[in-house]
Symmetry: C2
């Protein structure tokens, strides 16, 4: 919008926010220009594949962020019971901040329920598969009896919490959903 960035990497977060706000189909090149402050020519210079390459780059960037801030900590937390519990705690802290209690959508989640799922199949599935796998491992290390079911339930609570908080236009709903899902055994 304001200051035109000069590197491909600096552009990606701006593209990401545009895709999150308008969805894949709803995001036009004109919107992408406004969001980045760049002209058509510059965008196609950085992303010759156009809109599809931009969305793919955004998904890769999101994946990298979660790898570093969520998945990797969960993985390395799976050594002992106490570390595992703390790994899950920090996951929810990161996630709550990242999604801003549902004010910000999960782009892989949005793509999952739309036609974009086909086009970005690997990225969408990979994102959620790694989340499930790493959280399952952490929950198992923390002593959960059915770690995979519990991991699916908690991740679904995050995704459903986003949907519900936005539908009701009430961010508190997101926090309530997460807290309720965690409550029974605090794992």
């Amino acid at each position: 919008m304001a200051k035109p960035p000069t590197t491909r990497d600096a552009v990606i977060p701006l593209l990401a926010e545009a895709f999150r706000e308008h969805g894949y189909q709803g995001t036009s090149m004109a919107i992408l220009q406004d969001a980045t402050g760049l002209g058509r020519g510059s965008l196609y210079h950085f992303f010759p594949g156009g809109k599809e390459e931009m969305a793919a780059a955004v998904l890769a960037d999101i994946r990298a962020w979660f790898d570093e801030r969520v998945f990797s900590p969960l993985r390395s937390a799976s050594t002992g019971a106490e570390e595992a519990r703390q790994g899950v705690d920090t996951m929810f802290d990161e996630v709550r901040t990242y999604f801003r209690s549902g004010r910000r959508v999960c782009l892989p989640g949005v793509f999952a329920i739309g036609r974009e799922r086909d086009k970005f199949d690997d990225a969408v599935r990979g994102y959620f598969a790694e989340w499930v796998d790493t959280l399952t491992a952490a929950l198992g290390a923390a002593g959960s009896s059915e770690p995979r079911s519990r991991a699916l339930q908690l991740i679904a609570a995050v995704q459903g919490g986003i949907v519900l908080a936005r539908a009701l236009d009430d961010p508190d709903v997101f926090d309530t959903v997460i807290d309720s899902a965690r409550a029974p055994i605090d794992l």
Copy 2:
């Protein structure tokens, strides 16, 4: 597609499936023609407001279905504890069948996380608000200590289960998520 229907009411379910498969923005008039077997002229005859009126009619139809099959039973089940439990049971049966374990998306949910939320604000909010209210009442009657939090959690499990089942391309995930969410107290 196959047989062109002749009444407005008969067209709506076909439109609904098209919107569910392609999203609001992704559903073009050409797709709507294919889905209904009707020409442009006929569609505009039934829905002078075009695409927006069609989507509004679909949302109203979905709302009516849930009113009859889910919300109304939940409301009338809120008289006694045992009826309330059974009302919640039938809700999950209806929902599991309706969403086909995540193979079918929830259109109000899809609209909630997209830009369509603004245009169909009342319909989206009304659908989820009534779901939350009626389920809260039933859970309260069934003896739940925090019925509203629990209602939000269970509805979020449905929405998140759809997202996750589609992302992982595994309908079993939907059922696992629902069962896990219900497990702790079976309410």
